[in-house]
């Protein structure tokens, strides 16, 4: 399949409820260049994210990142010096949703709930702690699987809270889904 999801049984998944799945420390500081490239994608024209004077005028310490870039800042590197070459492997972003041991070989986002606190500024370094909150088994159009809810608590280098985000994803098996589609045809 090419996507690396941590395998496991549903019992193993249940055993992780309430536990810390991972701690992520952003490999890079929040920077102007990444913010500028983010604005470029959707043509997000707002000088709070590019102009220090405008940001200060509106109560920010300096240029502020869009609030919705939170996960980007904390995402671990795909490769770091000292690690072996990746070769031809397809790497999955190390979001916690892919690290929860569970059955299934595919995953899709279902719901996200974010609350924002302190602004994220150029120069900040963002970290987060990720916990599995709940699991709910369901049958959807993709087949049998489970909705996994992970809560990520983001802080900056000062310890200030910047965001709490709950992400719900559906873990399922593509092979089972295709079999169900064939049987229903």
């Amino acid at each position: 399949m090419g996507i690396t999801l941590t395998p496991g049984t549903w019992e193993e998944t249940e055993s992780w409820i309430g536990k810390l799945i991972s701690t992520m420390v952003g490999p890079d500081e929040v920077d102007k260049a990444t913010i500028r490239r983010k604005l470029e994608v959707l043509n997000f024209d707002c000088p709070l994210h590019t102009d220090e004077a405008v940001a200060r005028e509106h109560g920010y310490r300096t240029i502020v990142a869009p609030a919705t870039m939170m996960a980007t800042w904390a995402l671990p590197a795909y490769w770091s010096p000292g690690q072996p070459p990746v070769g031809s492997r397809t790497l999955m972003p190390l979001f916690p949703l892919s690290q929860v041991p569970a059955p299934g070989n595919a995953i899709i986002g279902s719901e996200v709930q974010s609350e924002y606190f302190e602004p994220v500024y150029v120069g900040d370094r963002i970290s987060c702690e990720n916990r599995l909150v709940s699991i709910a088994h369901r049958c959807t159009r993709l087949g049998m699987g489970a909705f996994l809810t992970i809560e990520s608590t983001y802080t900056k280098q000062t310890g200030e809270l910047v965001c709490v985000e709950r992400f719900v994803s559906f873990r399922y098996s593509v092979d089972e889904h295709e079999e169900e589609v064939r049987e229903s045809a």
Binding site: I3, R37, E40, V41, G109, S110, E111, P119, F167, V174
Partner: protein, 150 residues
């Protein structure tokens, strides 16, 4: 560009709709988004992988859709507004080739610990499908009574 002068809490009326914001989801845009948000999950730019996962084509990732909402809310609130909450359910992927439009409507307002908070219903739709995403947002707006600063 959002208004520099911004919207004041006292000026918001329940039921008011925010200006809509549309973005075509070209493959190039999805690739650019992956390049900057660093979510290189293949289903967002590799058609073969997306189809192996049971999807008809590649689709926008969550962060792109979150930012579309943030842009629409910023466009409405102006420079002085601050996004406090953003929640939505993804009812259907937004696939490459579709144009997605963000919408919002004020559902209420309250003063919380001296801060003016506006609640909104938000959603995104494509030409083919209504409410591919649906949820709520909370935006803090400056209050004239408090001197206008957030």
């Amino acid at each position: 560009m959002p208004s520099p002068s911004g919207l004041m809490f006292e000026d918001v009326e329940e039921g008011a709709e925010i200006p809509t914001l549309s973005v075509p989801l070209t493959l190039q845009r999805l690739v650019m988004e992956a390049g900057v948000n660093r979510d290189f999950a293949p289903m967002h730019f590799d058609r073969d992988q997306a189809q192996q996962d049971g999807q008809p084509d590649v689709f926008a990732n969550t962060m792109l859709l979150q930012t579309l909402f943030e842009m629409a809310l910023r466009q409405w609130a102006g420079f002085s507004g601050r996004l406090r909450k953003l929640s939505f359910r993804m009812n259907r992927p937004n696939y490459v080739g579709e144009t997605v439009t963000a919408y919002g409507r004020v559902t209420g307002k309250r003063v919380e610990e001296g801060r003016g908070i506006v609640e909104l219903e938000i959603w995104q739709s494509t030409e083919q499908h209504d409410r591919t995403l649906a949820g709520t947002a909370a935006v803090e707006l400056p209050m004239a009574a408090a001197g206008g600063a957030p």
